[in-house]
Amino acid sequence: MTTTRQATPTRRRALIALGLACLMGGASSSLPAYALDLDQLAAQLSSVPLVHGKFVQEKHLRGLPKPLLSEGRFVLARASGLLWLMETPVKQDYRIVPTGIEQRTPDGWKAIRQQAGLAQQSRMFTAVLQGDRTALERDFTLSLGKPATGWQLDLVPKSAMLKQIFTGITITGAQYVERIEMNETQGDRTVVRMMGNSTSQPLSPQEKDDLGL
């Protein structure tokens, strides 16, 4: 049996970010007792069960003078998952649901490549969606900071393998997650900005359908 091949991680910069967003936005009910601040944060985030908003994702690749931009809308439903509807540069819908990360195709939702590493990542996000913070804490050291406004959560990978991929992940927000920044060991960087503009708008039938409700 091989080790190297499977061990070679398949990174999904944005995925991790989105998964974390789910955690912050949606997965607090079953958070175990932790540092008081994290509990407070969880409570604060869980008070917002549903967010509609816009996102801007910037991929800062070292060799490019300008970041690669993608923009679109997102729907974060606390209990069921996340819809990530990219509008530019191309239209493409994604969702993170308990079964994994899926992409809309003419034939319906299809899981993205079930290959080494990915099944693992979707499992991580699934755990996150279900409020299983232990899974995250196994892979990352979490620390909470208090900037001038809102809060900042830093994740530092624990395992040697993850350290070879990320140097760290920083999540900032106030009422909900507003910005996620992932710094890769390679020097590339991804910033996701999430601008929520409604916490009261209900799920449309289409959104419900897309989230499998």
Binding site: M1, T2, T3, T4, R5, Q6, A7, T8, P9, T10, R11, R12, R13, A14, L15, Q57, K59, L61, R62, G63, L64, P65, K66, L68, S70, W84, M86, P89, V90, Q92, Y94, I101, Q103, I112, R113, Q115, A116, G117, A119, Q120, Q121, R123, T134, A135, R138, D139, K158, S159, A160, M161, L162, Q164, I165, E184, T185, Q186, G187, D188
Partner: protein
């Protein structure tokens, strides 16, 4: 008696030497092996093939695969973590792998340097045929928030070749790496299974390592079960442990029954405790058998020991022969008795040894060992019975039980009846009966006749291969060539055929180094193509903002990459899985194409046909052929032995009596085969080996009866004792769980019984000489 004293001293010296040798041989680990693979023929057509087989069998011999399963993934990992920590402390393992933490920097470097060499053929073809599409796909991948990525930064590999390479490295197993822990995990049937691999320190197939490994697995199983988990384990050493457990159980059971039975017969017949001394030659026989075996082979296989235990029945006979003279020889005197039986004893030892010698000729190491053990054991027991026992039995007064003699007399009477049945027609009837069964015999020539691995272990191995998706076979292709590149080209040609076979079904997969690295020509063709890449092909990347200069630079860098050889590719972390599949040979290089999934030997041979330097190595397939060929040769050999014996007996006893004597074992053999046919037992090589022994023992009985040195009933009493002890020990083998042993025991047991029943048919030498009045009966034999 000077010569007697001399013989005694010489023998005692021999015993001391043997005891000392044994003490030295057994000083550390017991030189006992239970490795089932050792039973297989060790002769290989070439050194390269032998090396290759060693490579392929290495994991089988030294690896213990353990799966720890739990419905909760984290708990499964936790249980495995605990187990790994415990096992790492165990001296029998040199490493217990669980987490795999590759150095990504090294992976990165290998990927970058070998972007042309490792690019899968399909991707290379797309790049060459449709560069526009290829690069457009790369551009959208960079845009895509969920696009594939690789450990290599985008700017180091604008064309995204490293990502394609990683995607293309097929994972033949179902195991996935857990990024947090580096563990290999597979989800199966609602449970998460993580894999632990224990690698033993030495290829120590002595009794200890398998037993220790089996014990560790047992403990781990209950420990994991206590955590509501489940543990599955497989590995050659577990089979070895089960085999040696079974052998030990059978050995002690059969050994003690045979010994107790023989002692009972002995004490019952001679009614003196000192009669127990006839067990001394048995002990001497076992001692010399073990010592000689370990000296010649370095160790002794458990199967040899099991079969060796059956020799007790033969070696005990040596002393029994002259003790049973006490039925007539009164007063019994050891020296006179010995003098009377010595020629017969010597002849018997020589014919039995000859029988076993035929085993030694077969091309199976296990049989050679059994033959060596038996011959050494017979010689040791014989010498002991002749040199040591007489002085020990000086003044011994056996009190032969008259009942045995009564039984013998009764038998003699009934034998007369049997003898009266002696006619060509009854012989013909028996032969027809036998032949009727022989027609029903079916032949079995595969590995199943050697061993019957425990069902539980087989089931567990099946589950492990279902969960891991890893099903190795012992079949593989050996591809040789003068240069590395030649081997690679030849493997690529073979892979093309295997790929077709895989899509047709049957073959699950295969692995060869050409899947990792392309032949030099392909690398060069790719480099040449890139330097002439149409300018507009790179437009999608330029649209993302990548500068023309850096794209130009990237193309120049790729074009200038030096070709990667298999040796270089295998040295890096990406080559780990392929490393055992490549080797240097005296004439160049060799690559192994290992196979997954069961495919018929003939189909595989057809796949490799006509490809230069490609050869199928199929140990199990060739084993069946070997079994079959050996079985046929053994049949001829038995026929030849019959003729030779017939000639010798004819010379010695006259044609007619010689024929009569030979008719006993020959008819017995026919009847034995017939019975096997009727009861549906297969005809295996081991049946034939048993029958060769029946031939030699049967001739013994017949000669003994024919000569009737001291009256027919006493002779018969001797034969009863002989046959009783032999039947006890060989017949018990028929109860063994090892098919080879059972087959052998059944053949010998049945054969001896028929020989015993038919031995009166030899007629009576003395009687005929003494009483000339017995009218010749033309119709009888």
């Amino acid at each position: 008696m000077v010569s007697e004293r001399l013989a005694l001293r010489a023998f005692l010296l021999l015993i001391v030497v043997m005891l000392a040798t044994a003490a030295w041989q057994w000083r550390g680990a017991a030189p006992v092996s239970a490795n089932l693979l050792e039973l297989l023929p060790d002769e290989m057509p070439s050194l390269v093939e032998q090396q290759a087989v060693t490579r392929i069998e290495e994991p089988l011999n030294r690896e213990l695969l353990v799966l720890v399963g739990h419905a909760n993934r984290d708990l499964a990992l936790k249980l495995a973590d605990t187990l790994q920590a415990q096992w790492a402390q165990q001296p029998i393992f040199d490493k217990v792998q669980w987490r795999f933490q590759p150095d990504l920097d090294t992976v990165r470097k290998q990927l970058l340097d070998g972007r042309l060499a490792y690019l899968p053929p399909a991707d290379a073809a797309q790049l060459i045929l449709d560069p526009h599409d290829f690069i457009q796909a790369r551009a959208s991948e960079l845009q895509n928030p969920f696009g594939a990525s690789s450990p290599v930064a985008a700017q180091d590999d604008w064309l995204g070749l490293s990502g394609r390479i990683l995607k293309g490295l097929i994972n033949p197993t179902r195991m996935q790496t857990d990024l947090g822990t580096g563990a290999l995990v597979s989800e199966y049937d609602g449970k998460y299974w993580t894999l632990l691999r224990g690698h033993t320190r030495v290829n120590a197939f002595d009794l200890q390592v398998p037993a220790q490994a089996a014990e560790l697995v047992r403990q781990a199983r209950s420990q994991v079960a206590a955590g509501q988990g489940e543990l599955l384990a497989t590995g050659g050493m577990l089979y070895a442990a089960a085999a040696s457990d079974q052998a030990t159980r059978e050995m002690s059971l059969m050994g003690s029954i045979a010994t107790a039975g023989s002692l009972f017969l002995l004490l019952g017949s001679f009614r003196r405790w000192r009669a127990v001394m006839v067990m001394i030659p048995v002990a001497a026989g076992i001692l010399s058998g073990v010592v000689v075996c370990v000296t010649i082979f370095g160790k002794i296989h458990v199967l040899t020991l099991v079969l060796g235990m059956s020799l007790t029945g033969v070696t005990i006979d040596y002393a029994m022969h002259y003790l049973s003279k006490s039925f007539t020889l009164r007063p019994w005197n050891v020296r006179r008795a010995l003098a009377l039986v010595l020629p017969g004893l010597t002849l018997s030892m020589l014919t039995s040894s000859l029988g076993y010698l035929t085993l030694a000729w077969a091309p199976f190491p296990a049989l050679r060992q059994i033959a060596t053990f038996s011959i050494a054991s017979l010689a040791g027991a014989y010498l002991c019975a002749v040199c040591l026992l007489p002085p020990l039995l000086k003044g011994f007064k056996p009190a032969p039980h008259s009942h045995l003699l009564d039984v013998a007399r009764f038998l003699v009477r009934s034998q007369r009846k049997i003898r009266r049945l002696r006619s060509y027609s009854s012989l013909a009837l028996l032969l027809v009966l036998g032949l009727g069964g022989i027609v029903m015999l079916h032949v079995q020539d595969d590995l199943r006749q050697w061993v019957a691995p425990s069902r539980a272990l087989q089931e567990e191995a099946r589950q492990v291969s279902a969960i891991t998706g890893y099903q190795p076979t012992s079949q593989f292709f050996l591809v040789t060539g003068a240069t590395e590149n030649e081997v690679l080209r030849r493997q690529a040609a073979l892979s093309a055929r295997l790929e077709r076979a895989r899509s047709a079904g049957g073959l699950q997969g295969y692995r060869s180094v050409d899947q990792l690295v392309s032949p030099v020509e392909r690398q060069q063709a790719l480099a040449a193509m890139l330097t002439t890449l149409p300018a507009d092909a790179l437009a999608p990347l330029a649209a993302l903002g990548v500068s023309d200069a850096s794209l130009r630079q990237e193309i120049d860098r790729l074009g200038a990459l030096p070709p990667v050889t298999p040796s270089q590719a295998l040295a890096g972390p990406l080559g780990e899985a392929w490393r055992p599949l490549w080797m240097q040979t005296p004439d160049g290089f060799a690559g192994l194409t290992s196979l997954q999934g069961r495919v018929g030997s003939a189909d595989l041979a057809a796949l490799g046909k006509d490809l230069p330097g490609v050869e199928l190595v199929d140990r199990l397939g060739s084993l069946s052929e070997l079994f079959s060929a050996t079985r046929q040769t053994a049949s001829w050999l038995m026929g030849a032995a019959c003729l030779v014996m017939g000639a010798l007996l004819g010379l010695h006893f006259g044609l007619r009596d010689g024929f009569n004597i030979l008719a006993v074992p020959v008819t017995s053999i026919v009847l034995t085969l017939g019975v096997l046919g009727y009861i549906g037992q297969p005809l295996t090589l081991f049946v034939l080996f048993g029958l060769i022994l029946v031939l030699t023992i049967g001739v013994d009985y017949a000669i003994f009866m024919f000569e009737s040195i001291s009256g027919r009933s006493t002779t018969l009493a001797g034969v009863i004792l002989d046959a009783g002890t032999t039947l006890l020990s060989f017949g018990l083998l028929a109860l063994s769980d090892t098919p080879a042993v059972r087959s052998f025991g059944l053949a010998v047991g049945l054969g001896i019984t028929f020989c015993f029943l038919l031995s009166p048919w030899t007629g009576q030498h003395h009687a005929r000489r003494a009483t000339a009045t017995v009218p010749a009966r033309p119709k009888t034999l």
